[in-house]
């Protein structure tokens, strides 16, 4: 069915509303005037996400505060075949929450109540718009721990994290969002409100629908509430910093440590470019001539942490680390991790446009992937920065470019495709944690069998027969 909204070129700028006034009136009846934005300037602020190369204008932004609001909005949009793009904080980096088909942006940020923290059963139930950091703060007061840690946690919402199946440095030992998802409340395009899954660790009741929605990028249903599994907070954490003169040796260290039976909570890799930027922004005394740095965190009971750290230091040395040491105190450890978080912003601060990908390979193939990225960088004379989660094989090769410099940008896009191919050849995947969104639609055909893509489409069709939810994402129109 043809969507009634027009695809709008961004550069036409702020113009009159394409949605009929009766639709706007009906939306206003649902969420109230304070729950709706329709002025051009306000809308422009919802035309982007965390990426720097995609934009698309919505025609109205609504802020529901209950599942009933969401249901009424979806039922209305479904009846009129208006596109609906669900959005949390818009920190995603795949173009996934950009309303390229116009229509309604359904923003969950005002559904932000933590409904229950059940310390006895180790679960938390929150509304979709709760910011991950706010949940973490509430949990730490009760000595509880929710490990998945996408580095946008200061702003990212739980609903968005589930929709993108987000993960972060803790994935090495603790996994990603899907490993903690027990249940959810979701609204279908028809307006039906469903409670899916439950609140128990074990649950084999039919197809696992929460897991299907997890990572579906808002294309199947709108999640309004999530129940997650929690862990007790580890008694102790220790950070270790290892410096290498060759990135291959860093890869070797990761391999040796994991093969020895130790699973650190985090293993992060930063290349020379990042090290130098960090030293410019916040001098930590990192060696600016180092080829790569590995940052480890071990956690658990004090005896375990002490032993694991000693082993990490020892094995890093054996792999050829130039220097390796534990952080002297909690403050220094915090500085190291702040520097790691700042890494991405340093990249974005140094170029008008950044193609920051999240290819993931089996951990033993990391050095090969890095070699191939560097070769591409030399051949095409591009700056490609490498930062990433070495412990789970998830790297972020980031190409610095400028989308307005057509020649440069075209080369950058071509090189990015070569990196995708490299990852696939090494037995990896094109996206480890960002999702496909708009950014990687074009490589989906390389990464999945045609029959599998057809299956994705069929599933989408069952949930959303009119195709109103986040249209145009994940796969390219045939």
């Amino acid at each position: 069915m043809q969507l009634h909204v027009k695809y709008r070129s961004y550069l036409t700028g702020i113009c009159t509303m394409a949605l009929p006034t009766d639709v706007l009136g009906a939306l206003q009846n649902i969420v109230g005037s304070e729950g709706m934005l329709a002025s051009g300037l306000d809308l422009a602020a919802y035309s982007f996400d965390g990426t720097t190369n995609w934009q698309g204008m919505p025609e109205v932004v609504v802020f529901p505060t209950t599942a009933e609001h969401v249901s009424a909005i979806l039922a209305l949009a479904n009846a009129q075949a208006i596109a609906v793009t669900a959005r949390g904080a818009g920190t995603n980096v795949s173009g996934g929450s950009i309303p390229t088909a116009g229509g309604i942006v359904l923003c969950t940020t005002r559904m932000n109540r933590i409904l229950e923290i059940d310390a006895a059963n180790l679960t938390a139930t929150v509304e979709a718009g709760v910011v991950l950091n706010d949940l973490n703060l509430a949990l730490s007061r009760r000595r509880l721990f929710f490990p998945p840690d996408p580095q946008s946690f200061l702003a990212a919402t739980i609903g968005g994290c589930v929709s993108e199946n987000a993960g972060g440095p803790y994935a090495v030992k603790y996994g990603v969002f899907k490993h903690y998802l027990l249940g959810m409340r979701a609204v279908l395009p028809s307006g039906a409100i469903l409670d899916l899954g439950g609140r128990t660790m074990k649950n084999v009741t039919g197809y696992d629908l929460p897991q299907l929605l997890c990572g579906s990028e808002g294309t199947l249903a709108v999640i309004t509430q999530v129940t997650m599994r929690l862990l007790p907070q580890p008694a102790m954490r220790q950070t270790v910093l290892a410096v290498f003169d060759q990135v291959v040796k860093a890869g070797e260290a990761v391999h040796r440590i994991l093969a020895s039976g130790i699973i650190p909570a985090k293993i992060e890799l930063m290349d020379n470019w990042i090290i130098r930027r960090i030293e410019e922004m916040m001098p930590l005394g990192l060696p600016t001539n180092a080829d790569a740095i590995l940052l480890f965190e071990c956690d658990g009971l004090p005896e375990t942490v002490t032993k694991e750290c000693a082993a990490v230091i020892d094995l890093s040395r054996q792999a050829g680390a130039v220097s390796v040491r534990a952080a002297e105190n909690a403050r220094e450890a915090e500085n190291f991790w702040t520097a790691r978080r700042a890494g991405f912003s340093a990249i974005f601060g140094h170029a008008k446009t950044v193609l920051a990908e999240d290819v993931t390979v089996p951990i033993t193939r990391i050095p090969e992937l890095i070699d191939r990225v560097r070769k591409l960088s030399r051949e095409h004379n591009l700056t490609i920065v490498i930062i990433g989660h070495a412990g789970d094989g998830n790297l972020h090769p980031s190409i610095l470019t400028d989308k307005h410099n057509i020649g440069h940008f075209t080369v950058a896009e071509r090189v990015m495709e070569a990196i995708f191919s490299a990852a696939l050849e090494l037995g990896g995947v094109v996206s480890g944690e960002h999702g496909i969104g708009l950014e990687k639609r074009r490589v989906l055909k390389q990464a999945m069998e045609p029959e599998a893509i057809a299956l994705l489409r069929s599933i989408k069709n069952v949930f959303d027969p009119k195709g109103i939810l986040n249209p145009g994402k994940i796969w390219e129109d045939a």
Binding site: Y10, L11, G13, I14, L37, S39, G40, L41, D42, A44, A45, Y46, S47, F48, D49, G50, T51, T52, F63, A89, G90, T91, C107, T109, R110, N112, G129, V131, N133, S152, L154, A155, A156, M281, R341, A342, F344, S345, A346, F348, G349
Partner: protein, 403 residues
């Protein structure tokens, strides 16, 4: 550029969760405006008005982008392109620029019974009529007489205290006209610390409110007046966080090509906040007159614009018989943000209530701060929410005032 970390620290976004009201969204609008993709019209001016200029986002920003400065520059550009509104022009250029005119105007108001106070509680009774013009924000009563008539041009340390040097004070409009008691206590404390204190009657408003509203031309003229009046002194102390943040930035108000740039940079280097200066000089305050519990609110202009957090706490904890208690979110904005508090009353009040709750939880009887703007907002909040807490400038606490 688009990580969105600013969302975690923006007081306005925490209330309304609207993307164009937080640094990330507003910066995009400013960029689109500069590229000509959006028209810079009245709606654009409105969007720019949703920033408190508290500077907190810069502290959270991994790239340390000064979004508050970007907003102020965009406002300035609007003022140049579209001109100021009639009211803005009248208030900025007609009144605020000239302290003598402010004195005459406010002097006339002070004659109205109930609009002024000789000393004591500033927020009461007839002054509430003025709240009609401030959208319900309680306006403090005027000080009668003004500070200039209460203190000498030159105050020497009390007998027995060795003279250690000379400082000039820049006390700002709020102390001059509304909180003259506190102004006097600032001067008295500096004198007790062993400094000869010079008060100049040649000063005018620091110009920050006008600068932040986009009328940088007028603001520069005001900066020039103040630099001329105090330029000959080596140390310039302010009691108002907003004034000190402005004075410390005069250097950046004049571009490098401007002949006054060097003078402004030199001037800015000499400026220090009251508590910053006293702690640097090792001042030890007199014990408090009675045991009490005090908490402290960080003014954004001191905490985020100047990075001063430890000195005021050090002063308060060094007060014998006074117990200091930290409030939750002491560094969160009070919600006034100058004209913001009046333009966006609902958001301002929603931010204010969080602050009042935090103060209530401490059970403190006194809340001290370093900015008269915050004092007004905190006084209004305590009154609005029936919280029996006395709001004082930190100098008043050091001088043993208890309200």
């Amino acid at each position: 550029m688009k990580c969105g970390f600013c969302m975690s620290s923006c007081p306005v976004y925490a209330i309304d969760h609207i993307e164009s009201h937080v640094a990330r969204g507003r910066n995009v609008l400013v960029l689109l405006g500069a590229q000509g993709d959006i028209i810079r019209n009245e709606a654009y001016r409105q969007s720019l008005s949703y920033c408190l200029v508290c500077g907190r986002c810069q502290a959270t920003c991994p790239a340390k982008i000064s979004s508050a400065d970007i907003t102020v520059q965009a406002r300035s550009q609007m003022a140049h392109e579209a001109g100021l509104t009639g009211i803005q022009r009248f208030v900025y250029r007609g009144i605020l620029k000239h302290r003598s005119r402010m004195a005459i105007l406010l002097g006339l108001m002070a004659r109205i019974p109930g609009m002024s106070t000789k000393e004591g509680r500033p927020l009461r009774h007839l002054a509430d009529a003025a709240a009609l013009f401030s959208r319900g924000l309680s306006v403090p009563r005027l000080s009668k007489p003004f500070l200039g008539q209460r203190i000498a041009r030159r105050t020497v340390p009390p007998p027995g205290v060795k003279i250690r040097g000379t400082v000039a004070v820049f006390l700002g409009c709020a102390f001059e006209f509304f909180f003259a008691d506190a102004g006097k206590d600032i001067v008295a404390t500096l004198a007790q610390a062993g400094f000869e204190v010079i008060y100049s009657s040649e000063l005018t408003c620091c110009g920050l409110a006008i600068y932040c509203s986009g009328d940088d031309e007028t603001a520069r003229l005001m900066a020039q007046t103040n630099m001329d009046a105090l330029g000959s002194f080596d140390r310039i102390i302010t009691g108002c966080a907003t004034c000190s943040s402005a004075l410390k930035k005069y250097g950046s108000w004049f571009c490098e090509e401007d002949p006054r740039h060097v003078q402004a940079v030199t001037f800015s280097r000499k400026v220090q906040d009251f508590s910053e200066f006293l702690v640097q000089e090792g001042f030890q305050p007199q014990p408090a007159s009675q045991p009490d519990l005090v908490t402290y609110h960080d003014p954004c202009h001191l905490r985020w614009h100047q990075g001063v957090t430890a000195p005021p706490r050090k002063l308060l904890t060094s007060l014998e018989r006074m117990m200091f208690v930290e409030m939750e979110g002491a560094d969160a904005c009070c919600g006034l943000g100058g004209a913001f508090g009046m333009y966006h009353r609902d958001i301002s009040l929603a931010i204010q209530v969080k602050k009042i709750d935090a103060i209530r939880k401490t059970r403190a009887r006194i809340v001290a701060t370093s900015c008269p703007g915050c004092m007004i907002q905190l006084m209004d909040g305590c009154r609005r929410h029936h919280l029996p807490v006395t709001v004082l400038h930190i100098s008043q606490v050091l001088q043993g005032r208890t309200g």
